[in-house]
Subunit: 258 residues, 2 copies
């Protein structure tokens, strides 16, 4: 039974996150829509495993998932699935991989982007679903705090409740700020690359950095916040809709089976 | 009673166009949402007059409207209305104008943009509500046809049914193609500037140009199409969701009253 690696982009606005929720009237989820499309194409139920669970309202430009499908002849999986998926979920790439490949367990690192609207101008309606309108920010102060969150740390103070993870040490490989020209210098894009993310860690890092940029949290307190291992000592979590999963890296473990 | 000139941006996806529809269960419209917000802020019904009616699903970055409001003290109209409007409709600017100003009758010219996705790659979900995925195009052939639609013509062959307009002569002041860098050269933006537009004229011009780019309509036939004064001889109308009203120009007739 061939194993497929799917690379996905979606606008998360209409969805209650990635993961299927087993409820009497289940809400729309990205995984649910994908399994619905796969069931139509394959003629039977297909379970999908994602690289990670994105939150309700969060987006993806390069989410990865795997699934085992029947050995159908000459199916263009990308095209076949896109016909059955809603237009806010797209399969960018579909390829056969070795059957030991696992979208979650084999992930070596992930990149998230968080987009902040820090201008006093009105947020353009097209951008509204994708940026956090957080008001004006002290950008040099915010940028100066980035190195304090980079490197290997116990990020327990940046983990929200809801998952039982034993090891809360993660390595933030890079944390950088950019001001994309296409948004006229009114959007600050935070890029976070790490070997793994705790629950809502990217949003909690953003919440902290925005509090620093607003002068509400002294960056000198960041080492103490990390050492406290306690979420309650940090500023509020940034809203989900500013967050985009950019890519998942497998370090070559996602090679073709042949 | 002060007259306000409002400049508006909206994502039209959720709306049945600009204009209020008097029906038993009226659909969502941009004008309807704006009048609802004005009624809350003003404490009474306020009628809004737009520069033009945008179609269901079409967007705006610079629609203009006027309305007469009670002389309230020190209202920040932009901020007050934006609080009451949904986030896909934004007031970009609100200013008092002379009470002879009329958003529709005083308009000297309008600019529309139509965005075409001509790449073979999958349309990114973020762009899907804003571009027509029209497949590959012969771009030099399409661009060569632009001058044939520029200038003063009777555009009756580009007018859809539904309005009784006596004079169907309009002047297309400019019609140009651009390839915005932010979309990686996969989007062709048609910019049309004219002293006025007939019903669905911008969409019919786009439909023709795409047919030319697809090799389905010989550009040598464009003069005959204009001369025919008959819509049925032209290719299909381009879908509304690729269209954006960029701006409305009043040639200085929208100056402040003082």
């Amino acid at each position: 039974m061939p194993r497929l690696k799917l690379t996905l982009a979606y606008v998360g606005t209409a969805y209650s996150g990635w993961q299927i929720q087993e409820k009497p009237s289940p809400p729309l989820t990205v995984q649910g829509e994908l399994e619905r499309a796969l069931a139509i194409v394959c003629g039977r139920a297909v379970r999908v495993f994602g690289a990670g669970r994105t939150d309700a309202g969060a987006h993806a430009e390069g989410q990865v998932a795997h699934c085992d499908v029947p050995a159908l002849r000459a199916v263009n999986w990308r095209a076949a699935l896109n016909v059955k998926l809603p237009p806010d979920i797209r399969v960018l790439d579909a390829r056969e991989v070795a059957d030991r490949f696992h979208a979650c367990f084999d992930a070596r690192k992930k990149i998230y982007r968080y987009d902040l609207w820090f201008s006093r101008r009105v947020v353009p309606p097209r951008l509204h679903p994708f940026v956090w309108d957080c008001g004006s920010l002290n950008l040099p102060q915010l940028e100066a705090a980035l190195p304090l969150l980079t490197g290997m740390h116990d990020f327990k103070s940046f983990q929200n409740r809801g998952t039982a993870v034993r090891d809360t040490v993660r390595t933030v490989l890079s944390l950088t700020a950019a001001y994309p020209a296409e948004f006229g210098g009114e959007v600050l894009s935070l890029h976070v690359e790490a070997d793994g993310f705790l629950k809502q860690m990217a949003r909690n890092m953003t919440g902290l950095l925005v509090a620093v940029g607003q002068g509400k949290f002294d960056p000198a307190r960041i080492p103490a916040l990390l050492a406290a291992h306690e979420r309650a000592q940090g500023p509020p979590t940034a809203p989900a809709h500013g967050l985009t999963l950019v890519s998942v890296d497998y370090g070559g473990n996602d090679a073709c089976p042949v």
